[in-house]
């Protein structure tokens, strides 16, 4: 036998009892040459292209999943940002294209299609405004299309005027049909990676070629289980080593599966994103890993340091395992999707301000957080602005995916269903920040953006 019994059983255990999975296989597809003079023809052309590219996708994924025994949870497509496909001041046109994309995704059996994306960090003109004003209707009338709006970057600074507009869009999206879940498909970002396989922020960056296969691998359960097996006296170096070791193994598995699918589909392999992405399942929680390392709840003093340790160890293991590490790679802290993070909010251990601090050292940002539906729009703008400032200054991706709950009050639990989980509505600091937005304009890029 080429492997020891322990090695074989470790792999089997990771999959069968510790929830190791490939969270997503995401095909990135360039649609720039599908643009036509008439919108109807553009949609027909896109439909043709996507059907062609995804023809064998689901079958091959299913086969590889079976042959290698590792579950693949989502099959997705990320497309060229829609803002590059049509340039229009007419909301109806964006809605028409979006419905077309959603229909294609449904017909092809995809879980999600990402790429209703616009880059507004420099300016928001009439087309950009129409693009985002279409979002409430789009997200309420489609089910698989995800939207991401970039309002800041380290190179471009922060567009405060765009943030002002997008805050109203988030509120309108939740209020249109009294459905905060629509906002789970909308993310506001700084510095988005062009190869992110995770929703809602996935799009195919124009530098990423014609078609490319990206993999998102996850496994909070495997990390937690490994930490449970460590002796009680293991110090923090031991903890970091153990996380790194597990991250290495699961990244290697993910990269291998991705490359195998890519080979069988004859589509170039892009990158592997190793992210601890929790699910509401008890054993699949990032909050629990943090508790395991030595905190009563995530949110207690020391949480930022512990999350930094985890995030960095994940990246180290991932980078050692693969030369194609990309996407977000690190640790997600989505409140509703992680039972123990939601409970930490409920018992008062974790506040919005502490979540913001944690986003300095996690891989994304303020994620899946229910807020009161009657929030002052300026407060929502301020929350987004602060999160963007962290990303711009730290030269990393940050994002806000927040769910206003119409009629909801702080402390009330909201059930989002399925993998979106449930969470209490978080309390928002109500002191005013209106003055910044009355000034408007942009915050210039930081000194550290000039690297030439």
């Amino acid at each position: 036998m080429f492997f020891t019994t322990e090695e074989i059983l470790e792999t089997i255990r990771m999959v069968q009892t510790e929830h190791l999975d490939i969270r997503t296989i995401t095909l990135g597809v360039n649609l720039l040459d599908c643009r036509r003079d008439r919108l109807e023809e553009t949609v027909i052309s896109i439909s043709k292209r996507l059907k062609e590219v995804t023809r064998d996708f689901l079958d091959v994924v299913k086969k590889v999943e079976l042959e290698y025994g590792i579950p693949i949870v989502n099959r997705r497509v990320a497309i060229t940002p829609v803002s590059l496909l049509i340039q229009s001041e007419d909301i109806e046109e964006y809605l028409y294209l979006s419905k077309g994309l959603d229909k294609i995704a449904e017909e092809m059996g995809l879980d999600f299609i990402g790429g209703y994306t616009a880059f507004l960090e420099y300016e928001i003109n009439k087309r950009g405004l129409a693009f985002i004003k279409a979002i409430p209707l789009i997200l309420n009338e489609t089910s698989r299309l995800c939207a991401s709006i970039v309002v800041a970057s380290t190179r471009g600074g922060i567009n405060v005027d765009a943030i002002k507009e997008i805050a109203y869009i988030i509120l309108d999206t939740a209020r249109l049909k009294n459905n905060p879940i629509s906002c789970a498909k909308l993310i506001v970002m700084s510095n988005p990676p062009p190869d992110n396989p995770f929703m809602a922020g996935a799009f195919q960056g124009i530098e990423r070629g014609e078609k490319v296969l990206n993999v998102g691998i996850s496994g909070p359960g495997t990390v937690r289980a490994a930490l449970e097996r460590l002796p009680k006296e293991a110090n923090l170096i031991d903890v970091a080593e153990e996380i790194k070791r597990i991250a290495f193994k699961i990244t290697r598995a993910g990269e291998f599966i991705g490359k195998e699918i890519s080979k069988r589909l004859d589509i170039k392999f892009g990158s592997v994103d190793i992210s601890l992405a929790p699910t509401p399942d008890e054993g699949d929680s990032v909050g629990k890993i943090i508790e395991k390392i030595g905190l009563e709840h995530i949110g207690a003093p020391g949480s930022t340091a512990v999350l930094f340790l985890i995030n960095d160890a994940i990246k180290r293991g991932g980078l050692m395992a693969s030369s194609s590490i990309g996407g977000l790679s690190g640790t997600f802290i989505p409140v509703s999707e992680d039972k123990s993070i939601a409970e930490a909010v409920s018992c008062g251990a974790l506040t919005l301000e502490k979540l913001e601090a944690l986003t300095n050292v996690c891989s994304v940002g303020l994620d899946m957080i229910p807020i009161p539906g009657d929030i002052d729009p300026y407060s929502l703008m301020g929350i987004i602005l602060d999160e963007m400032a962290i990303g711009v200054m730290a030269n990393k991706t940050t994002a806000v995916r927040i769910l206003p709950v119409p009629g909801g009050k702080p402390g009330e639990w909201i059930e989002l269903g399925g993998l979106l989980g449930k969470a209490p509505i978080i309390n928002v600091n109500s002191f005013s920040c209106k003055g910044i937005f009355d000034r408007g304009g942009r915050i210039p890029p930081p000194v550290n953006s000039f690297r030439n």
Partner: protein
């Protein structure tokens, strides 16, 4: 050569090895190596098989899962490469 590793786990009883190996024989799959241990009252068997000339891997996996159900043990099959990438640099 294409190889796969079959793992069988469950409460020990007679007929497990016979059941699994007869499925493999039906499919013309050769056993290259086999190890078996008892951990507590858990029976653990690991079988390395040659699947180079196997036409329908999916059918074999489905048949093994069925046999596992009949024998009241947990059976899984993975292609060998997944273990190599995870445990060898």
């Amino acid at each position: 050569m294409n190889r796969a590793i079959i793992t069988v786990m469950g409460i020990d009883h007679t007929g497990i090895v016979a059941g699994i190996s007869s499925v493999l024989a039906t499919f013309g799959v050769n056993i290259l190596d086999i190890t078996q241990t008892i951990m507590g009252d858990m029976f653990v068997m690991i079988v390395l098989v040659d699947i180079t000339n196997l036409d329908d891997l999916t059918a074999l996996i489905e048949r093994l899962l069925e046999e596992g159900k009949r024998l009241k043990v947990k059976v899984s099959l993975e292609r060998e490469e997944i273990f190599r990438v995870m445990h060898r640099i």
